[in-house]
């Protein structure tokens, strides 16, 4: 307790420990390589869901275009990997050796300028963070400074997701079109297709995800986290208490965008391709449902919600594909009508109280601790 960072209360630390144990020990011990890789893929969506908890659950900003940010990260990583896979030696049968195969098929003879920076790994990592942040900043500034929020923002971000998909599919020569960027092989010389690489990447992914959750916990526990809640409730009161509401909205939207992009980059590394099927309206709104199922105010719920929905999707759509769509549709309706706080709400209402009673897990009766406790649990009630 004494050594822990001050933004974590006991309940958060316990939750973090449980999820870390589950992802770092239980899953790797119980699952075979194929299944573990599958979990790794799901967890890349959890990056998006964690961002949405801050942005939508706390800030009240529903973005239906998070797939775009996922893609910005995913394509950034894929472009680097593709360039490495398209060395002159590997592509000597092409009419222009040294460029990605799909460019060659589309009669492009020179690498486009916006592909150039992706020759360098450090630059690629930098761009995976900066490009989505910049993009979110531009959209956010344009919208929030003009007081656009709520459903208008949701619709416009959805339109942006639609535009991005059409653009990626339409510009085959530059993006790989509908197939996306495929046949990725090595990361800085390290073959990512082997079982051992996939195993290592799973752990890299989990650690990165836990760091993102940690960062989100820090943001939530800071005064900024409370301002987000305040803004969602009484935007004008916050504004007339001397805060520039738009700046806070822009910040949290950028943060969610960067989280999504990190997830996208990890997706490419683990799955070995990136395609427009993860960009558009449908995947973007599905990422919202992951968050809603976990509980829109719960950072840990975002991880469990993502895993639960995706496990259900995989098992149902394998055996009863027609049932899956009905189930997913029903899920959207159920989390809105019956379980607005998702899994976290069910946990807080039915599971946590008996555990608390059993463990007598009560905070010391001191102003600061109580206040912190209230901050972390109250909104989820």
């Amino acid at each position: 307790m004494k050594t822990a960072p001050s933004f974590l209360n006991r309940r958060d630390m316990l939750a973090l420990a449980v999820v870390a144990a589950l992802l770092l020990i239980v899953f790797p011990a119980l699952l075979d390589g194929f299944r573990l890789n599958l979990v790794g893929k799901y967890l890349t969506y959890a990056f998006v869901a964690v961002g949405l908890v801050l942005c939508w659950g706390y800030g009240g900003i529903l973005s239906l275009g998070q797939g775009v940010f996922f893609a910005l990260g995913g394509y950034g990583m894929a472009m680097y990997l593709k360039l490495e896979a398209s060395s002159v030696e590997n592509t000597k049968i092409q009419s222009t050796p040294g460029i990605p195969d799909f460019m060659d098929w589309n009669q492009i003879t020179e690498l486009p300028y916006f592909w150039q920076p992706f020759h360098s790994l450090p630059l690629t990592i930098l761009l995976i963070i900066l490009v989505p942040a910049f993009f979110a900043f531009v959209i956010g500034s344009a919208m929030f400074k003009r007081r656009v929020s709520g459903v208008y923002f949701a619709i416009i971000t959805q339109a942006i997701a639609a535009i991005a998909t059409i653009l990626i599919i339409g510009q085959q020569g530059y993006t790989g079109g509908v197939n996306g960027i495929t046949d990725l092989r090595t990361l800085h010389g390290w073959d990512i297709r082997t079982d051992s690489a996939k195993f290592i990447l799973y752990f890299v992914n989990v650690v990165l995800l836990l760091s993102v959750v940690g960062l989100a916990l820090f943001v939530r526990a800071s005064k900024l986290g409370r301002i987000l809640v305040a803004m969602r409730e009484k935007e004008d009161r916050v504004r007339f208490s001397g805060y520039s509401v738009a700046n806070f909205q822009i910040f949290v939207f950028c943060l969610a965008g960067v989280f999504a992009a990190l997830g996208g980059a990890m997706f490419t590394l683990q799955v070995g391709f990136m395609s427009p099927s993860l960009v558009g309206i449908v995947p973007s709104i599905e990422m919202v449902i992951f968050t809603a199922v976990g509980g829109r105010m719960s950072l840990f719920g975002a991880i469990y919600g993502t895993l639960a929905v995706n496990f259900a999707k995989t098992s149902l759509s394998e055996s009863f594909p027609e049932l899956w769509l009905l189930g997913l549709g029903g899920l959207f309706i159920a989390v809105v009508l019956a379980f607005p706080n998702g899994l976290a709400g069910i946990w807080n209402d039915y599971v946590q109280p008996p555990i608390d009673r059993a463990l007598k897990l009560r905070p010391k009766h001191q102003g600061d601790d109580v206040a912190k406790q209230a901050a972390s649990t109250a909104p989820a009630e």
Binding site: V219, S222, K223, L224, R226, I227, V229, A230, E233, K234, D236, R237, V238, R239, F240, S241, G242, Y243, S244, N247, F248, F251, G367, D368, V370, A371, A374, A375, A378, P379
Partner: protein
């Protein structure tokens, strides 16, 4: 009773030729008035006279069509809402505007005048000074024993007090209150009057109120608005006997 030690011409707030129209309807029409340092000014008038709109204009919620609002010589009509707040203007809304999902402590803390930028909010530390100030204010607004309860559980009157407390912690030079005792019980009204008398020290206050008894108790000067224009202005005694005022407002 008004300014001490400052020349009389040096007004804290100078509103001149202020006009705002909504699709041709002039809610506020060529309005001018001045508020001195440490003055308590009450605006009264029938419904739809433009009282709340005047406060909206001063705090930047509504943009003026024409005219100027100067606060300590700075032009407010050109500033954003948060700049206006930072220059020293505080505003309480008509219906209690507080954050239900946060505790009383957190409600007050958000109004504490520090860490208002994004970075400032991220690195804001709840130090002893903050804690002391929040406790001090919570005592003034009768909510000290409820500091760590969620604000949603407060009564209507307590919510009004909480919002007044939020303004108090913000420490504005000009405090604007929109019907602070509306919807309160008699005992709450008495406590609120007491509360207002404590917090108006060392600052100027602009109040909208309907309760004449309350107005008489606190006002230094009264401005009567009617259809977006000033009908009468002066001491309560003068305004009360003005036949125009009696006809449109006090008569009913």
């Amino acid at each position: 009773m008004t300014t001490i030690g400052t020349p009389p011409k040096d007004y804290l707030l100078a509103v001149e030729a202020l006009t705002v129209s909504f699709d041709g309807f002039k809610a506020v029409n060529d309005l001018s008035f001045y508020v001195d340092e440490n003055e308590i000014r009450v605006i009264i008038g029938p419904n739809g006279a433009g009282k709340t709109t005047v406060l909206d204009l001063i705090c930047g919620k509504t943009k003026a069509t024409a005219g100027s609002i100067r606060f300590r010589g700075a032009e407010l009509t050109k500033m954003s809402e948060s700049q206006i707040v930072l220059s020293g203007v505080g505003r309480k809304f008509q219906t209690p505007s507080i954050y239900d999902d946060l505790t009383i402590f957190e409600n007050l803390e958000i109004s504490y005048p520090k860490g208002r930028s994004v970075w400032g909010a991220l690195t804001f530390k709840r130090d002893q000074a903050v804690r002391d100030r929040v406790e001090e204010v919570s005592e003034i607004i009768f909510l000290k024993d409820k500091l760590h309860e969620r604000a949603a559980f407060l009564s209507h009157g307590q919510k009004q007090w909480l919002e007044i407390g939020m303004l108090l912690i913000q420490d504005p030079e000009l405090l604007m209150l929109d019907e602070p005792v509306a919807g309160m019980s008699v005992s709450e009204r008495i406590k609120t009057a007491e509360l207002l008398n404590t917090i108006i020290k060392n600052r100027s206050v602009l109040v909208i109120e309907h309760d004449m008894k309350f107005v008489e108790d606190i006002a230094h000067k009264v401005t009567v608005l009617h259809q977006g224009k000033i009908l009468s202005e002066g001491s309560m005694q003068k305004v009360k006997t003005d036949p125009k005022v009696v006809e449109v407002y006090l008569g009913h």
